[in-house]
């Protein structure tokens, strides 16, 4: 059965810290890995990583895909209170189910002033 596991489930840091969030997956016919940020509302898209694009960066956020280890990390440097959110990892695969995504349970990040 396909699955996506995120760790840690929750994390508390102070402003200015650097954090690393982890996502591992077991999926048949891997196609892509996506990261979302969810504050007190709908998830918003951050990055998509594929075999042809294993590293993405936007400002203080960056993400790397390790296809050998079947995992990805999301790094946030110089954290701010506005980074407090749930970070969701999702994996897409080729083949059936019309390209549905499988989501992990998320990592809840709390950034203290």
């Amino acid at each position: 059965e396909d699955k996506v596991v995120q760790s840690p489930l929750s994390l508390v840091v102070h402003e200015g810290d650097t954090v690393t969030l982890n996502c591992s997956y077991e999926v048949t016919n891997f196609r892509s890995l996506l990261w979302y940020k969810q504050e007190k509302k709908a998830p918003t898209f951050l990055f998509m990583l594929t075999s042809s694009g294993i590293e993405k960066k936007s400002g203080r956020l960056s993400s790397i895909l390790d296809k050998k280890e079947l995992s990805s990390i999301l790094n946030i440097t110089a954290t701010q209170t506005g980074d407090s959110a749930i970070y969701l990892c999702a994996v897409g695969s080729y083949g059936g189910s019309q390209g549905n995504l499988i989501f992990g349970k998320g990592t809840k990040l709390s950034v203290k002033p």
Partner: protein, 113 residues
């Protein structure tokens, strides 16, 4: 903004009553999804649609039905609501088969008493 609206945004109902949630999009995207989000479970797929009148079950479809009579609307119905269906429901769209990313609506918070 992916042009997705959900209605109602909040609803309180009683056990045994039927409930219909609506997802409306303005971009004529072919693929639409219904998820529920619960603490400790992350996002779980209920049903999805890959075109008008084309729908299929997701991971947690028991107790739910869907309909899509027009491209822009995807309805989720709880035929007889139960307390276990208290949740936050998100609709999502996917711009196309070649585009892996899904974009989420604002969500509907449902409380079944």
């Amino acid at each position: 903004d992916a042009g997705i609206t959900q209605s109602p945004r909040h609803k309180v109902t009683e056990t045994g009553t039927p409930v219909t949630l609506r997802c409306h999009q303005t971009e004529n995207h072919r693929y639409m999804y219904w998820y529920r989000q619960d603490p400790g479970h992350g996002l779980r797929l209920i049903h999805y649609s890959y075109g008008v009148k084309d729908t299929d079950k997701g991971e947690v479809s028991d107790g739910y039905s869907v309909s899509r009579s027009k491209t822009e609307d995807f309805l989720l119905t709880l035929e007889s609501a139960t307390s276990s269906q208290t949740s936050v429901y998100f609709c999502a769209i996917r711009p196309g088969l070649a585009e892996e990313t899904q974009y989420f609506g604002p969500g509907t918070r449902l409380l079944v008493l």
